[in-house]
């Protein structure tokens, strides 16, 4: 049986060179790319997520692990078959119209991206119709809305309304987050979920599929 513990520990340390070398070494030995991805890298990121939730890993350390994960996935991608490469789903992420804050949204994007999802980041100041268009274009199953300002929180509801009016309400799960947002607010505007931080967002997104 192959010992992957070094891949996991190097991933936890955010040591990209070591992780990439170990992944390449496993491939050279003939290990299946999908197995390396699913059984080791994604599981490694699950440990990162847990450690983040427990406060054992700090955000800069988590992000370093996520970036390391992305580099390793780049090595595996050309070797993954159509089925192997199938992701857990497509997530559209953005900060709602009128709000230019993006650090929380960027954290969520990275955490979801390193959990096996394809992510389209629409950036900041995103109009409801742009969310709708992106969901259609990417055939997304999840959309995550961010707002930092109390003044832009109502735009979350307008965006959710626009998604429902366009008939996409049954296709997507809607996740909201941001400093002033609460579970009660999320429930009140018809969101399917609320996450207080990036780690919880990734966990929630996984629970949707």
């Amino acid at each position: 049986m192959t010992d992957y513990s070094n891949i996991e520990s190097a991933l936890l340390s955010g040591d990209a060179d070591t992780v990439c070398n170990l992944v390449q070494a496993e491939l050279d030995k003939g290990t299946n790319a999908a197995e390396i991805l699913n059984d080791r890298l994604i599981k490694g990121m699950d440990i990162v997520g847990e450690k983040m939730q427990n406060g054992d890993m700090f955000i800069p350390e988590v992000l370093m692990s996520a970036m390391t994960m992305n580099q390793a996935v780049d090595i595996l991608k050309p070797l993954l078959g159509e089925d192997d490469a199938a992701t857990s789903g497509h997530v559209v992420v953005g900060t709602v119209k009128g709000d230019l804050h993006d650090i929380g949204k960027n954290l969520v994007t990275m955490m979801i991206g390193s959990s096996g999802f394809e992510v389209t980041d629409l950036g900041v100041d995103v109009a409801p119709e742009d969310f709708v268009n992106a969901i259609q274009e990417k055939n997304a199953s999840i959309v995550a809305l961010s707002a930092l300002l109390t003044t832009t929180m109502p735009m979350m509801k307008k965006t959710i309304d626009a998604i429902h009016e366009s008939g996409l309400g049954d296709q997507v799960k809607i996740l909201v987050g941001g400093a002033p947002v609460t579970q009660a607010f999320a429930d009140g505007i018809g969101a399917d979920g609320y996450a207080a931080d990036a780690g919880s967002a990734a966990k929630l997104v996984k629970s949707f599929v």
Partner: protein, 476 residues
């Protein structure tokens, strides 16, 4: 002499200044406002229209520092509460931005309502060191337009009001409202009953609509409080040194823009830097690092000879009690001992997400303690009581000296309003009251009493009519 704390030596202030100039000149600042870019380009900044980045040469900063006024008065609706800048003592600005309230009856956190915020304004109006308020900021029970939040605040406070404008289309209605309150168009400019907060988006970004709104508002000479919020370790670099330089550069870029647009427009050189909660990525404002930066930026304001407003008296604590008091004292005393003009933050808990009526009263007590320490030891000859020492002789006491009688109720000795100084038995007999219980009683007294400076009914009528027209015209 005043008790003085210093956080940057004169040489270190020069270093921060030079690094700020280097950021402005070599990296530049992104402006989402085309109007702002036009003004900066016209005055000699190197503007890249595609990236919207303006690189600001040192000469523009020098020029802006020459034209920015060194002193002005922020008028209050009750004239005796006008706040002159710079100030000889630290005044306080109520942070009315919390979207939650610690319910006065149940003690539980819940969504804040407009009524909660009006009560906060009423209570803060009675605080000894209250200088200004931020306007109501909540949506409940029904959507509130930004103008309604600001103008209704004048109905519940007699202090100077400070808030944000979100769009240029709010400016004419705001000025009309100020005319109704101040009594004439000239009085709007002269009295300066309103000032705006201008938060740049760290790192180095200026918003579009807000910037455009203020470029119109400066024609009426309402002060602009530039208020960078760079967070060391997330939206700012992970050293206090460079985050202070970044915040200072953002503040200078705002100063340059508004002075180029209207030389002489009043600027308050503020700061609300934070530090990062590395476990969550969140903003921390009850940390020692926050106040070190805030105090240093206050020193930079004085380095430039500009009035200042610094975030302080803040807490990340979620509840009344020990952590709140520890964090608030930690983030207040250094600023006061540093001589900042305005401390923005009382009343807030939970990183400014939750407001508490009792906390306003407790924070005023903290402010009074800090002021007493700042006021220091009066070494004037009138306080030399050598004669008393001679009269009492060795072994006597000073309780019946005339100087003792005069002093016992003077500023020489602070009389707390909340802190307990009774003997144990008396304290026990009174039910072991703590500061927050006494604060609660004070809040009840204030809210039960009639408003001391009510806005005349005809002015309220005018404001309601302006709000109605604004709400019909402006789409939020």
């Amino acid at each position: 002499m005043f008790t003085q704390a210093q956080f940057l030596s004169p040489e270190e202030q020069q270093i921060i200044h030079k690094e700020s100039l280097r950021i402005l000149k070599e990296i530049g600042v992104l402006f989402h406002s085309e109007k702002a870019l036009d003004i900066l380009a016209k005055n000699g900044a190197k503007v890249d229209r595609e990236s919207k980045i303006a690189k600001i040469p040192t000469e523009l900063v020098d020029q802006a520092l020459k034209t920015a006024p060194k002193s002005f008065i922020c008028g209050a609706r009750a004239k005796e509460k006008d706040f002159a800048l710079p100030s000889t003592f630290s005044g306080y600005v109520l942070d009315n931005g919390g979207i939650f309230t610690r319910d006065f009856k149940t003690g539980k956190r819940r969504n804040a309502t407009a009524q909660d915020h009006h009560d906060l304004l009423r209570v803060f109006d009675e605080m000894e060191l209250g200088a200004m308020v931020w306007a109501t900021s909540v949506q409940d029970p029904e959507p509130y337009s930004n103008l309604k939040k600001i103008l209704t605040s004048y109905m519940h406070t007699s202090l100077h009001v400070q808030h944000e404008l979100n769009h240029p289309n709010e400016v004419p209605f705001m000025i009309e409202g100020l005319e109704a309150i101040a009594g004439s168009a000239d009085a709007v400019t002269e009295r300066k009953l309103f000032s705006v907060i201008y938060c740049t988006l760290a790192p180095l970004v200026h918003e579009g609509h807000m910037c455009d709104a203020y470029l119109e508002l400066i024609e009426y000479e309402q002060p602009i409080c530039v208020f960078p919020m760079a967070c060391a370790g997330s939206t700012g670099p992970a050293s206090l040194y460079s985050n202070i330089a970044l915040g200072n550069a953002e503040a200078l870029s705002s100063l340059v823009l508004f002075q180029m647009a209207k030389p002489g427009c009043p600027i308050i050189f503020g700061d609300a830097s934070g530090s990062t909660n590395f476990a969550s990525g969140g903003f921390l404002e009850g940390s020692p690092e926050m106040v070190l930066q805030s105090a240093a930026r206050g020193e930079m304001a004085r380095f430039y000879g500009l009035p200042n407003e610094q975030a302080g008296c803040l807490a990340d604590a979620k509840e009344h009690g020990a952590q709140a008091i520890l964090e608030k004292m930690t983030t207040t005393l250094p600023l006061v001992m540093n001589g900042v003009d305005l401390v923005q933050g009382p009343g807030a808990l939970e990183t400014s997400n939750m407001m508490s009526l009792e906390q306003i009263v407790v924070d005023d007590e903290i402010a009074r303690y800090c002021k007493r320490i700042r006021d220091g030891i009066d070494m004037s000859e009138t306080k030399n009581y050598f004669d008393d020492i001679r009269d009492v002789k060795p072994g006597g006491h000073f309780l019946v000296q005339m100087n003792t009688l005069k002093s016992c109720r003077s500023d020489e000795f602070l009389a707390p309003t909340l802190c307990d100084r009774d003997a144990y038995e008396k304290w026990d007999e009174f039910g072991r009251p703590d500061m927050y219980e006494k604060a609660k009683t004070r809040v009840e007294e204030i809210l039960a009493a009639p408003q001391k400076h009510p806005l005349p009914d005809d002015v309220i009528g005018k404001l309601d009519e302006i709000i109605r027209r604004a709400d019909e015209t402006i789409e939020e």
